[in-house]
């Protein structure tokens, strides 16, 4: 059965909506494969607006890998804004892909990439517009398998009722494996329908199918146990780890949008994983071990990616990019290669202690020297010990002094508020730190023309981290501390004008906390919020705290119980059956160490401290140096 393009019907609506270009597709390097020649068809969704979703690396990588498979096709779909949603509802136009403008319900798989839990309501909108039943148990054989991935999928329990399946970890190999399972099953004539293919996926051990597990609760609401409800389903589901990044040099042909998006650059992941051990950082915990991409593959990917895209900026991505064992050689090689070509290089996520001025000079050689960003995260030395962000005040002052001395005029500092054991004084310490930064900068430059911006957000305890047991700080306390900090910065006669202050209030963090550490019962609150009109919760102009509290209460969900309650060591956590490889006893010990201000070193440079990931997952640290050189391009 062939599937007609919905574009003619969509086209009639486009003159009536904002930024219509985001819905038309046709991006450079996008692919529309023949529908009838494919056996397995994926709709990939980033559940946020196109401008946020298009640049997402995960979706672009899977899109390219799946489309390279002969019998598989992949198209993309994004959250539509409320103006188009209203028109689609009145015209009966279903959720569509932007590539072939095909109805999402016609696909075999709807794969959702959740970088954040705040996309959950957007998933429900897409399912509803697609005509797919919201609840997995109401879906029939004609409905796609709704599959979640991304960091939030490490605890998919709050959306378990709406998902058919979830995968943890790196998507490259498991997406191919899932495609293969579905292809086989379809080629056999789809025996046993939907349940059979889900059983085959679950039986592989690498795909979590929530409905094959039952959750039992204690009378006080805590979880008693989570157990498979049929034979052939594993007790624990493992995450996936791609071990050789050089074998997976994606994206090769980055998508180049016509619409403006949040990242207008070609991004290359220079490594995955991070073992710095920051206790608040879920990404660092669930992506272990560190696996570097080699300098030569990075060089090749940059060359091809720039040529294919025409982007004028390269971003070297990772969780802490200056930690790559050959970052200096990469930086110098790229700066040499692109000298005089108006090509900018950027290095997001740079640690204060890994930063050095030679590196920064290389990165700004072909571009502007506008601002540098560092993330001390905690305002006091004690706070930084609790979170294991091993950056001393001396490190920070030395680094920013060097930066100001070399011509940078603006330094941004990122912090968090509401960390475990935090006091008012810890937060006010941020003001002292910022003032010292300005003072040092004025001394080294002899100028008052330097600035520092303090950016601060609320901390959310995340699953699979040592803080998974912690009580989340309530929003009133966070807001009170942020206000006090603001007063301390603004009110300073000597330094106040040189320090900028950006912050997010504590309310969205509470909702993020509920969705991060929630269990299956929280799904009722998500559904209620969505039914009440909740959309785009990651956007302050759409987010409504009042709606979340009201709808959660109506759904019988005690938000405080899920957020500000500290958990006991033995309490069964909703994600305990989902295995990121981290040893639970090690995590608990790290949590105890946090409370006692005990720091942990990085296992790349010190002996293994038995977090458990490598032996459990059969992986190992993969770092250089390789000693290879990044070759300059030959002049054509």
């Amino acid at each position: 059965m062939s599937v007609e393009s919905l574009f003619p019907r969509l086209e009639a609506l486009l003159p009536k909506v904002q930024k219509p270009i985001q819905y038309v597709g046709g991006e450079l390097n996008s692919t529309v494969k023949d529908w009838d020649e494919a056996t397995v068809r994926w709709a990939l969704m980033y559940p946020d607006a196109y401008e946020v979703g298009l640049p997402n690396q995960g979706v672009q990588i899977l899109y390219e890998i799946l489309n390279e498979m002969p019998e598989t096709l992949a198209e993309r779909t994004y959250a539509v804004w409320p103006d188009l949603e209203a028109l689609m509802r009145s015209e009966g136009l279903p959720q569509f892909t932007v590539d072939g403008h095909r109805p999402v319900r016609a696909f075999d798989v709807l794969g959702l990439s959740f970088a954040t839990e705040l996309g959950y309501t957007n998933m429900l909108t897409a399912l509803d517009l697609a005509g797919i039943p919201l609840r997995a148990d109401e879906r029939g054989d004609d409905d796609p398998i709704v599959l979640a991935g991304g960091h939030a999928a490490f605890n998919p329990e709050p959306i378990a009722d709406f998902l058919d399946a979830a995968v943890l970890g790196d998507g490259e190999q498991i997406a191919i494996a899932i495609s293969e399972v579905i292809r086989e099953w379809k080629s056999e004539g789809s025996p046993g329908g939907r349940n059979e293919v889900l059983m085959r996926l679950a039986g592989s051990g690498g795909v979590y199918v929530p409905k094959f597990y039952d959750v039992e609760y204690h009378a006080d609401g805590r979880i008693k146990r989570v157990a498979p409800n049929r034979p052939g389903v594993p007790w624990r589901v493992n995450k996936h780890t791609v071990m050789d990044l050089d074998e997976w040099p994606y994206p090769k042909k980055p998508l180049v949008p016509l619409a403006e998006t949040v990242h207008e650059r070609f991004s290359v992941e220079i490594f995955r994983g991070c073992t710095r051990g920051c206790r608040f950082c879920q990404a660092g915990m669930i992506t272990r071990p560190v696996r570097e991409r080699s300098i030569s593959t990075i060089g090749d990917m940059v060359e091809v990616g720039l040529k294919e895209s025409g982007f004028s900026e390269v971003g070297l991505l990772s969780l802490s990019s200056a930690d790559h064992s050959e970052i200096a050689e990469v930086a110098k090689g790229l700066a040499d290669r692109y000298e005089g070509t108006q090509t900018g290089l950027s290095l997001p996520s740079t640690r204060v202690d890994a930063f050095n001025i030679d590196l920064a000079n290389e990165f700004s050689r072909n571009g502007r020297r506008s601002g540098l960003t560092f993330a001390p995260e905690g305002g006091s030395e004690r706070m930084r010990k609790v979170i294991n962000k091993m950056v001393t005040e001396e490190d920070l002052i030395r680094t920013v002094t060097a930066a100001y001395g070399q011509g940078w005029r603006q330094v941004k500092l990122y912090f968090m508020c509401g960390l475990p054991t935090e006091t008012d004084e810890d937060v006010l310490g941020i003001a002292d730190l910022a003032k010292k930064v300005i003072k040092a900068g004025r001394e080294v430059t002899g100028s008052r023309d330097i600035r520092c911006t303090v950016s601060i957000g609320g901390f959310v305890p995340k699953p699979h981290t040592p803080f998974q047991w912690a009580a989340q700080c309530d929003d009133e306390t966070v807001d009170r501390r942020l206000h006090a900090l603001k007063m301390a910065l603004r009110g300073d006669r000597e330094y106040g004008k040189a320090i900028g202050f950006r912050y997010h209030d504590g309310k969205p963090s509470i909702v993020e906390g509920l969705l991060s550490r929630g269990d299956r019962r929280v799904g009722a609150a998500i559904l209620a919020v969505w039914a009440d009109g909740g959309r785009f919760d990651g956007w302050s102009e759409h987010f409504s705290f009042e709606r979340w509290l009201r709808c959660a209460a109506e759904a019988g969900i005690d938000v405080d119980w899920y957020t500000t309650r500290e958990r006991e060591e033995k309490e069964v956590l909703p994600w305990d059956h989902l295995d990121a490889g981290l040893d639970r006893e090690w995590l608990w010990q790290d949590w105890q160490d946090a409370v006692n201000d005990v720091e942990v070193e990085d296992c790349r440079w010190t002996p293994c401290y038995d977090c458990g990931v490598c032996p459990t997952m059969g992986t190992e640290i993969q770092i250089g140096p390789t000693g290879k050189k990044l070759l300059p391009l030959t002049v054509v």
């Binding site: 219509p20 270009i21 016509l258 619409a259 108006q342």
Partner: protein
Amino acid sequence: MRKDDSTLKPVPDGPPPAPVVQRLRVRYAKRGRLRFTSHRDISRAVERAVRRADVPVAFSAGFSPHPKISYAGAAPTGVASEAEYLEIGLTSPCDPERLRADLDGSLPPGLDVVDVVVARTGGLADRLECSAWELRLPGAETGLATVAVEKFLAADRVEVERMTKKGLRRFDARAAVLTLAVSEGTTRTAGQKPGPSCVILRMVVRHAVPAVRPDDVLTALRLVADFAPPVPPEVTRLAQGPLDESTGEPADPFDLDRDATRGGDPGSADHVVGDL
């Protein structure tokens, strides 16, 4: 960078950017679904295409250099066009036909490069005096359209209102309209087979301030004769250029550059850039 003298504007280290030795004028079309690009979308796409095609574009000086590409009077978002214009400053001379092919190959399908000439005369933007527009109106009635057009043409002045960035503006939509005619045809939305029959309005409109756009003329037709098509029109700019008084149509604005190439317009020698 200087660190002691804040009164001087800082300049980047290194040599100044290479100068412009040649300017090329480009006529491009935005077709089909790419008519939904905005002017900003197009300028980003062109900058990337220029990089992909290795065009030796010149850059401005300063800390955030910009490619020297300038655009003349872009058609509104949602309106297709066969005749959009831009000018590129180059640091080394290029063959216009080769640049046309390279740039066209580097732009997404739907943004198509139609014609390129070497700029040998001044003021391309000033030469774009009027545009020919075509509006396809699915579901409209030819008889009603004809009556409305007659009433409109008979009027001296038809005031319309439109929301602009500066707020609601009220202006005359009649005087700028040089010709306006009704015919019948079929709709032709992006990538489709010919659709159902529709009314076609074809008009030549003088560029004025505030600009009178095809939708303003539609508004005027509604005001004079209650003519209201049921769905939004498919609008295409067919041509823009200097008004040819003999035909009442826009002429090719590149004619002067081509004449200069043949030595036909000695008066433009002052504007020749570079030493081809």
